[in-house]
């Protein structure tokens, strides 16, 4: 393994010499809008691009996840997966034209996750340039329907229908370079919707207010006693409602996530919230509904798992410090299938979820070298023990 670590710094320069190809791929892919459930055009382009770079097999699975397979030298070795989600949070009518400058690329969705898809599309050419051959097949997959209501459907389907063992996997996210995720928390993503039918006449001013009802829900969530072990929390992330400053709000919506190291605790907190939502609903004679948008099971590799140790060593060999936090991405689906996997970040940037999302170009080269380092580690067998 150490031999490979020694090579990584020189890979950075070689990768940098391919900057036109890599940036062109990021731009071409990122400029195709791909809101969740509407990823077809981006998926088609990704496939076409892989075919143009002479990937051995380009195909889609039954769920239309685009996949490229770079054949390895040893047919007996299971494949290594490198995946990134293809969808973004931006709708089609947003300007997706990217701006490239000397040090940055700016545009909707570049950090989450067009950069990663651009890198996936560039990997076959980068392997060729670095003269790299692997024993395992390398499967590069842009998975669809990942974000929000997509609930990671693309990767769930891909792994459910993949009928041979998988040696290990790397999930790619745009930021933050140095990120090393190897565990995911249990999670339930929920929405509480309050709907009060409009009343006409003098009673109008005394009816319930949807925003105040949600305020009551928030207060009760804040009063929950959450344990420190297993670590558990409720994150209130979104709220919307009302129509005018002087009119009582008839509709309001609250979005939150319950997160914990323990699936049991997630379920228990969910049941508590469900109970008091039911109570508030009953007391106020309104329409108050708790809906589950998506959920994930907690899953983890151990910190001393050889893949985690090797990935950490790869990151450190490039002069970076590994940052370990939980991740709720494709990683959790690999781990729940008992496939060793990590999530890596590729570069640095800002405004990740805004239309003017901006990535730094220079750190990306190290980010790509790190992906190759971890592929090499898996190919050498760190996941086989």
């Amino acid at each position: 393994m150490e031999k490979h670590l020694d090579k990584l710094p020189s890979f950075v320069e070689a990768i940098k010499s391919m900057k036109e190809t890599i940036i062109a791929n990021i731009v071409f892919i990122g400029q195709i809008p791909a809101p969740t459930f509407k990823e077809k055009r981006r998926a088609d382009f990704f496939m076409k691009r892989l075919a143009e770079f002479q990937v051995d097999e380009c195909t889609t699975d039954g769920y239309r996840n685009p996949i490229g397979i770079i054949r390895g030298t040893s047919p007996s070795k299971p494949p290594v997966f490198v995946v990134a989600h293809l969808d973004t949070i931006f709708e089609k009518d947003i300007d997706h034209n990217y701006t490239v400058k000397k040090r940055t690329i700016k545009g909707a969705g570049v950090l989450d996750n067009s950069l990663s898809i651009g890198i996936l599309a560039s990997l076959p050419e980068i392997f060729r340039k670095l003269n790299l051959r692997f024993e395992s097949d390398i499967v590069v997959a842009g998975v669809i329907q990942s974000l929000g209501r997509g609930n990671l459907r693309g990767i769930r389907h891909l792994l459910k229908t993949w009928d041979t063992p998988i040696r290990g996997a790397i999930c790619l996210e745009g930021v933050e370079l140095g990120r090393l995720n190897y565990y995911s928390e249990g999670m339930i993503r929920c929405e509480v919707e309050c709907d009060i039918s409009p009343t006409l006449g003098p009673l109008q001013k005394f009816k319930s207010n949807a925003i105040l009802i949600l305020n009551e829900v928030i207060n009760q969530i804040l009063e929950l006693r959450l344990p420190q072990r297993p670590r558990s929390r409720v994150i209130i992330g979104k709220i919307s409602g009302g129509s005018k400053h002087g009119t009582i709000a008839c509709k309001a919506k609250l979005g939150f996530e319950i997160q914990s190291d323990s699936d049991k605790m997630v379920k228990s907190i969910y049941n508590d919230i469900n109970d008091f939502v039911f109570d508030i609903n009953h007391q106020n004679e309104i329409e108050l509904k708790l809906k589950t948008i998506s959920n994930l099971s907690a899953a983890s590799l151990k910190y001393n798992h050889p893949l985690v140790k090797s990935a950490g060593a790869v990151i450190e060999s490039l002069g970076l410090k590994p940052i370990c936090e939980p991740s709720e991405s494709e990683l959790s689906i690999f781990l729940s299938h008992n496939i060793p996997a990590v999530t890596l970040g590729i570069t640095r940037g800002e405004n990740i979820y805004l239309e003017n999302s901006t990535m730094e170009i220079e750190p990306m080269y190290k980010g790509i070298a790190q992906i190759i380092g971890v592929i090499m580690a898996i190919d050498k067998g760190v996941c086989d023990e």
Binding site: K19, E20, D93, I94, D95, N97, K101, K102
Partner: protein, 324 residues
């Protein structure tokens, strides 16, 4: 009117997507192809144009031999950025320095003829937000595959970037529809078949460009069409549907200035061809008005209508290209 031209000489970019075939044809003909990007404060778009053309048409396919940026004196980081992505960058004023200096797009394109080495020169505006390599290969395709075609012009839908966020689905081409098309209809009806005579994306053989004069400013697109038509006829011209081009919107006042220069260029050619006679010369000022603190103030744009001669008449050029 030769109305067959529209059918015969109008192409779609998809007809030329087999880039390998174009490269083979280029090699068979033993010719070089240069891309010229004229710039003035284009730091937001220049890098993307260079990167995509280098990646797709120099690294993956060897269709282009060089990318040259000719700058009119940008005050932003256009030149630094272009240079960092490997384009050959020149200040227009530094080219043929003994000649009188002018500022303008036409000046940049004319000087590019001296700097570039290609037998085919592709000119692209540097403000294209949705740049794609089809903008080059589709313009070059007809020139490589059809021996009679010497000049190829792009046309497209023109959505306009509105503010920072959304795109207006259609628009643009106002000067074309309000100025050029009426003039062509009045004097050269055959030329109305050219969909977007003012598009800034075109390619042609050096042997054609070097023999025609270049107005230094906005009149360049009009003059190339009129002079090519007059010297070689419509059949040497082709047009290609590039489908979609997103660009910066220009305000009406700027379009007024553009129209002023184009009208002047057009009228000069009418006079030269004996199709119209002006009893007195032109005024050189476009006068618009703006509301200031002290009421309406004239806002004057000067254009002397200077034109560079065919570059083949310049001794330095003849010296440099004597072997070609």
């Amino acid at each position: 009117m030769n109305s067959n031209w529209l059918k015969k000489n109008t192409f779609h970019h998809s007809e030329f997507k087999d880039i390998n075939r174009l490269v083979e044809e280029k090699e068979r003909k033993k010719i070089k192809i240069s891309l010229c990007l004229p710039t003035l404060n284009e730091e937001k778009t220049i890098a993307k144009e260079i990167i995509i053309m280098k990646s797709e048409l120099m690294s993956r396919y060897q269709l282009l031999d060089e990318i040259v940026v000719i700058d009119s004196g940008s005050t932003d980081r256009t030149m630094e950025i272009a240079s960092s992505y490997g384009a050959d960058v020149y200040k227009a004023d530094d080219i043929l320095p003994k000649l009188e200096k002018f500022k303008g797009k036409g000046e940049n394109l004319w000087k590019a003829l001296y700097i570039t080495t290609g037998d085919i020169i592709v000119y692209l505006d540097a403000d294209i937000k949705n740049i794609h390599h089809r903008f080059v290969y589709a313009l070059v395709g007809p020139l490589l595959l059809f021996d009679n075609i010497k000049y190829c012009k792009g046309f497209y839908d023109r959505p306009i970037a509105r503010g920072k966020k959304k795109l207006r689905p259609t628009g643009g081409g106002r000067v074309t529809e309000l100025v050029i098309r009426p003039l062509f209809s009045l004097f050269f009806p055959e030329l109305t078949q050219i969909m977007q005579p003012l598009s800034g994306e075109y390619a042609g053989y050096r042997e054609l460009f070097e023999k025609i004069p270049f107005p230094i400013g906005y009149g360049i697109e009009t003059s190339i069409i009129l002079d090519t038509y007059e010297k070689w006829g419509l059949d040497v011209i082709a047009q290609v549907d590039l489908e979609r081009r997103v660009h910066r919107n220009q305000d009406t006042k700027s379009l007024g200035k553009m129209s002023f220069v184009i009208l002047k260029t057009f009228c000069k050619r009418l006079e030269k061809l004996g199709m119209a006679e002006l009893k007195s010369g032109f005024f050189n000022e476009m006068i618009q008005y703006k509301l200031g603190k002290d009421g309406y103030q004239p806002d004057i744009y000067k254009d002397k209508g200077f034109e560079r001669p065919p570059i083949i008449e310049i001794p330095e050029y003849r010296e440099k290209f004597k072997a070609i």
